[in-house]
Chain length 321, copies 2
């Protein structure tokens, strides 16, 4: 199929895999790219330049198609300069920036051929990203997993607002994990989707513990909650005794410093790598309510495109009468 996103990124289907801290490595990224979408490696959770280089080279061995590297440069992130040099040296075709102002990264990339995507949560951020030279924005609605905007604007409103506010292509993110969801994103004027949570529940997301995958299947759309809201950095996670406790502490006035360890990457890994439900947490969007299988990435994408294609026909016919 063809949209501005498939043309921009030179991919078959307008589906970009999200950055997925601690989970987005060569196996998953290459599977998504081989299936016609754009897979991504997470740079920041790899930490060191040589580790990133190894992961990029592994990805290049596993796929001939375009892929991306994600930079999650949120407020408590470490430095990325070394990682960025590796991206340039390895001639990575696409990067995405999430969590903060992409300006310093874009400045370093000037003159390089790499395509630049930016995750935004409101119109102002989208316009800023466009003015800085982003090739496309990924707009995330309140349904999404992981870090979100502070205004709680739902995907169904956010996407058309961003689409009417920028000229570059828009990828819809937040609450999308099916062919019907992809179709709705296109209906709202997006040129494609970014999808995170849904890709965790695939065979090729080899780093996610079975406990985490099973929880994604078992959870309903009512089973996610938002942590870190009181500090202005809301993030959606699976509801659990552990995450309920964080929220309770926040309500009682706990600061970031108080709960730093409980919300850290280490606590995240305790759950998503080791399945220790009482020692950590897992990011997840409301789309968990629509996840009930762990297919291969290839199966997932083929099924989504078929479902979207049939849905497009059905909807088109409604207007013919």
């Amino acid at each position: 199929m063809k949209t501005r996103v498939t043309k921009l990124l030179n991919i078959q289907y307008p589906i970009v895999q999200g950055g997925l801290a601690h989970l987005a490595y060569a196996e998953l990224a290459s599977a998504v790219s081989n299936a016609g979408g754009l897979g991504q490696i997470t740079a920041m959770t790899l930490g060191e330049g040589e580790k990133l280089r190894k992961e990029i080279r592994k990805t290049k061995e596993l796929t001939q198609n375009p892929y991306g590297v994600n930079f999650a440069i949120g407020q408590h992130a470490t430095s990325y300069e070394e990682l960025l040099e590796v991206v340039i040296e390895e001639e990575v075709p696409v990067i995405s920036v999430t969590g903060a102002n992409p300006k310093p990264i874009f400045e370093r990339l000037q003159g390089e051929k790499v395509k630049k995507l930016v995750l935004v949560a409101n119109v102002r951020q989208a316009q800023k990203a466009e003015s800085l030279g982003a090739d496309a924005v990924m707009a995330v609605g309140n349904e999404g997993g992981g870090h979100l905007g502070r205004d709680e604007v739902g995907t169904v409103v956010l996407i058309p607002r961003v689409v009417q506010s920028v000229s570059i292509p828009v990828l819809a993110s937040g609450g999308i994990g099916t062919g019907r969801g992809l179709l709705a994103a296109l209906a709202l004027g997006a040129d494609g989707i970014e999808m995170g949570t849904r890709f965790i529940a695939t065979k090729e997301c080899v780093h996610a513990h079975q406990t985490y995958k099973k929880a994604l299947l078992a959870s309903s759309e009512q089973d996610t909650v938002i942590i870190k809201k009181t500090w202005g950095a809301p993030g959606r996670v699976l509801k659990s005794v552990y995450t309920n406790h964080i929220i309770q502490r926040e309500r009682e006035g706990a600061t970031y410093e108080d709960l730093k360890e409980s919300v850290s990457g280490e606590a995240n890994k305790k759950y998503i790598y080791e399945g220790e439900e009482d020692k950590g947490f897992g990011w997840a969007g409301q789309v968990v309510g629509l996840i009930d299988s762990v297919p291969s990435v290839q199966e997932l994408i083929v099924n989504m495109i078929e479902e979207a294609r049939h849905g497009a026909e059905d909807v088109y016919k409604m207007f013919e009468n």
Copy 2:
């Protein structure tokens, strides 16, 4: 056009106007029905049976098309028995029930020809409504104006979940006010939409004060907030000094009894009828970010259908290549 909802309600376009407390009377309801949608009169805010009868008869004079009567039977609502008898006597073609269990209303309507719609905010309520005999459900996502579900599930996830959980038609509600929004609802598997806030900013919503209409145009999708959340009855309103004060009081532990007058129908009317911003509030959904005109209802619906039709063609073509 044709969907299960147009067939069920015998209307031209699958667009149902929401109940709109204090604003949904004969002028608006007949305009929506004349434009091919389903207009509704609000029963509960009329209060007395004979007042409702007068409004129904006025509506019948103004349109030959089907119309509905809404019963908002939330927790602090008054009794509706007398109003329901009038609906039966006047042979109203459609009723909708919002805010609570429709069982007692449905029991009284047994054997009557009236079609029954129910507003729901989660799968459990939708299944309950179906089992009680609802002809269709209207599922409202977290983006919506007025009273919402407690789980903050966005429209883009809630609609496909409800569609897969019931056999009766589903109308999508929450965040929809454009042709693209209608198209997205159909893409998600809905058979139509319920739309509230968008209809307030029309010429025929004659009871809404200019101050309220102007505020709907001026507001962005970031300019709504939720009141009454701490009491388990969240409702989305326009952000203002007045509504911020309510939220602040709630945070400090104020009870419903403490703030009863501030959140009452009288306070609502102070703002929406008289434009007194410091004495009351107005319900509104996040869709205010997409509202920038006050057209006639006929113009609004014609434009929405055209936009949706063109969008359906555009999206369909994306899959052809």
